[in-house]
Symmetry: C2
């Protein structure tokens, strides 16, 4: 399958480096490397995209199991080379899932399925970056208003 | 060096899969996988981020050489696996640079420097994805108003 993008420099005659990216789904990203940064830079997109990709899988699987998730935060912690090129060498992914009656095993199964079968970003990065993950499950204690 | 991100599921109780990503530069991305998609998906972020990353390098180098760039578009064409995980297998990058008195060799040198030395996204993807690039240089023919 294909995926294309067109990335266009805004204000070539100026001093900034802001790019507008148009994806094949017709959607737009902006990238900026300053001086007045208002958009993430490209390395932000990689680590954030990894989190969102695996998170979409995990939530899809947990919903199919009809598990009651009330909150989900993915913390990503990456190491990059200190010298050019400053590529990622390692990214740790922490899945923090909150819900009612969730078992840690169910969440771990969903994460494993994402990492071994479904997550396209994970599979793209895995040969080059040392990826690891862990799961934290928290019981939802807030009583819903009746 | 470090880079972190926090990716948060919006509306856990709903049916959509929209994530808000907060990067360590304090900037925000959104990711969406539908049903009513308003933001790019994570695989969009990878290919667009690759284009923006190498484009930032190339423009920085061309500006240092005081070359007169009047337009710059990067077209990216990616192949993904047809089966899960639908990782990238190949991405071709076409640098379309427009300017006054640009030499193809100068642009090719800038691209080569980006790909071999500076571009962190390129270096992160290169071990896993077959990357190729080419340059198209076009002379700016529009006469600027005096």
């Amino acid at each position: 399958m294909k995926k294309t993008a067109q990335v266009i420099l805004e204000s070539p005659g100026g001093t900034g480096l802001r790019f507008r990216a148009l994806t094949d789904s017709g959607l737009i990203y902006h990238f900026d490397s300053g001086p007045d940064v208002t958009d993430p830079n490209p390395m932000d997109a990689l680590i954030a995209g990894l989190g969102a990709c695996t998170g979409m899988d995990v939530m899809t699987i947990l919903r199919k199991k009809r598990l009651d998730v009330t909150g989900y935060v993915i913390d990503l912690d990456g190491d990059r080379r200190d010298e050019h090129p400053k590529s990622y060498t390692r990214i740790e992914i922490v899945h923090r899932v909150r819900g009612r009656g969730l078992s840690r095993a169910a969440v771990e199964d969903a994460v494993r399925l994402s990492e071994t079968k479904y997550c396209s970003v994970y599979a793209t990065l895995a040969p080059a970056v040392t990826l690891s993950s862990r799961v934290e499950v928290e019981e939802e204690t807030v009583v819903a208003p009746t």
